[in-house]
Symmetry: D2
Subunit: 194 residues, 4 copies
Amino acid sequence: MTITEQQATGTDFSTARSIVLQENERLLNAVQPDQWDRAGQLLTNARAVFVIGNGRSGLAIQMAAMRLMHLGLKVHVAGEVTAPAIGSGDVLLAVSGSGTTGSVVSAADVAKKVGASVLAITTAPDSPLAQRADEVLVLAAADKQDHSASITSQYAGSLFEQSVLLASDALFQALWSKEDQTAERLWERHANIG
Amino acid sequence: MTITEQQATGTDFSTARSIVLQENERLLNAVQPDQWDRAGQLLTNARAVFVIGNGRSGLAIQMAAMRLMHLGLKVHVAGEVTAPAIGSGDVLLAVSGSGTTGSVVSAADVAKKVGASVLAITTAPDSPLAQRADEVLVLAAADKQDHSASITSQYAGSLFEQSVLLASDALFQALWSKEDQTAERLWERHANIG
Amino acid sequence: MTITEQQATGTDFSTARSIVLQENERLLNAVQPDQWDRAGQLLTNARAVFVIGNGRSGLAIQMAAMRLMHLGLKVHVAGEVTAPAIGSGDVLLAVSGSGTTGSVVSAADVAKKVGASVLAITTAPDSPLAQRADEVLVLAAADKQDHSASITSQYAGSLFEQSVLLASDALFQALWSKEDQTAERLWERHANIG
Amino acid sequence: MTITEQQATGTDFSTARSIVLQENERLLNAVQPDQWDRAGQLLTNARAVFVIGNGRSGLAIQMAAMRLMHLGLKVHVAGEVTAPAIGSGDVLLAVSGSGTTGSVVSAADVAKKVGASVLAITTAPDSPLAQRADEVLVLAAADKQDHSASITSQYAGSLFEQSVLLASDALFQALWSKEDQTAERLWERHANIG
């Protein structure tokens, strides 16, 4: 962990907004689109999709999971009450900025062992998580434990977590485009109780 | 509900990425920064902050809630096992694209009744939620039930939900700037078990 | 709401343990077994089972939901990220001590409208929830807003919530008995990641 | 893992109910009350209480956590969005039937390292979790991976998970008895939004 004396200073909302927008634009434009298009194929061909991530990364990938359910895929969130065992033919969509989060790397090990595929979203292409993945989706933000502000002026993993959502939603948009489904058809799958 | 025949067509990841980035840039640059700076003051002066939102809006505002906790605020998510009653001096940060979500509007009513302040994030400045708010933070995306693609080419509330995260994180960055706290100090508050 | 001056006094763990055991024994022995056996048939014939409940009732019924998943049923918890719309042929297992909880009664209305069956677990056989149910499973504990200690010496809905778990687990045991499935077969369905 | 050919046979709801009641009565009456009374003192003196458990054990201890919050304690659930770092003066209430659950044992290690106390609820007094605990609360049910039906006829960890709830609620009742708080005072702390 590289803890530095990073502090945000003299920043009002207007300045911060520009930082957030510019950092995401630069980051997402550096992404390899073909990796995400291949990831999309893996997801739509899966028996079921399981997503896993800790903290804010976990919340961002849950937002993606909900959209995949709206698209008609069978989706589970690791740790959810109703999530069964992952098995052969399933896909694990695993998110970790550092690629070293214990529970996420362990889940990737289980997935490989039972014959599931692993899609990794990470900043670190050589990380333990990436090494276990069938497809590595690199988002070149700083790892959240790097507080040195070299890549982002934002706190910790914020840029990574934002880009997980924006890239996942772009992937959803591309997948939706490939399906012959109107917005109305997707809408019928939205939760109607709770 | 205006359900149309909206469909995304001919969109690969690269095209979808451009749509997501451009829509968020246009939307966030139309935001009134002074509203968010005032909201920040309300939040930092609160006895405790409660956040509420349904579905993906709820997940986005939970990401914001986690950051406010890292900043040292006392924060609760509505529906969490450990969330107590909201009371006088607290602030409710309430998110609803349409401004009509039943549980969110009801929560705003309770908040007003007990002497808490209400901060609303919504697309709809004249909505029931906005009418109950002390400060209305308008994000001029389409409501998710408007499938007519007039404001966004994305599905349902996606643009709104993305902008909730990006704007909240910009607000966090501005609040962090006002505090005399290094990244290291915030980092010490991150969950270390679970 | 009948709020009284109820207080527990002079109770150590040993005394409290006896109260909990005796109250549950008396309550569960007053249950009509045939209602639960019929409920079991509805659950195993469902296209999918949705469970809903607030607070501790919700946690108790989530424990039941997990076991139904282990048994091989398709199960969703209302409010879970991956829960889709309830529809025709599904069963809603709805829990409310008072039978008046807003979100639970609303869910029962939606279920009836879309052609799903409703199983209600409640203390109140004449409540709004019970009136919407195809089968009412009465657990004759006090409603949690009755603090008068006439039926239970425990706080609020504690007895009801305990009995929801114990009765649901007895129902699971009976359902398991009807299936030709070893413990090992169920065990294979337990979550293996997260 | 001892996987056997255990199956429940010839059991209707009425029979299953008797099994559940008798097993809990026998188990809870074998508990050492003084251990739980000491645990109660640790909890009420804590700066904050953190609870952790996986699956159904986790849900049962969350039910207990909610009651401790109603009693006025500061409570966090591991993994909740708003849970901060555990620290000196806090108490970790850790539940694992086998006493070997990875995330729970790791949490106990962290707790000890930062100066927090550990309360373990487990079937296994010699387990890794018990070895890290300041107070071990033994519930002598079978571990859920012992499918041999020697102690319980129920599936997997069901008896353990039921007894976690019943014993925790008895502990709550005893703690409430020691406080000068009416039911009405506790009721005011119940969540009023969400």
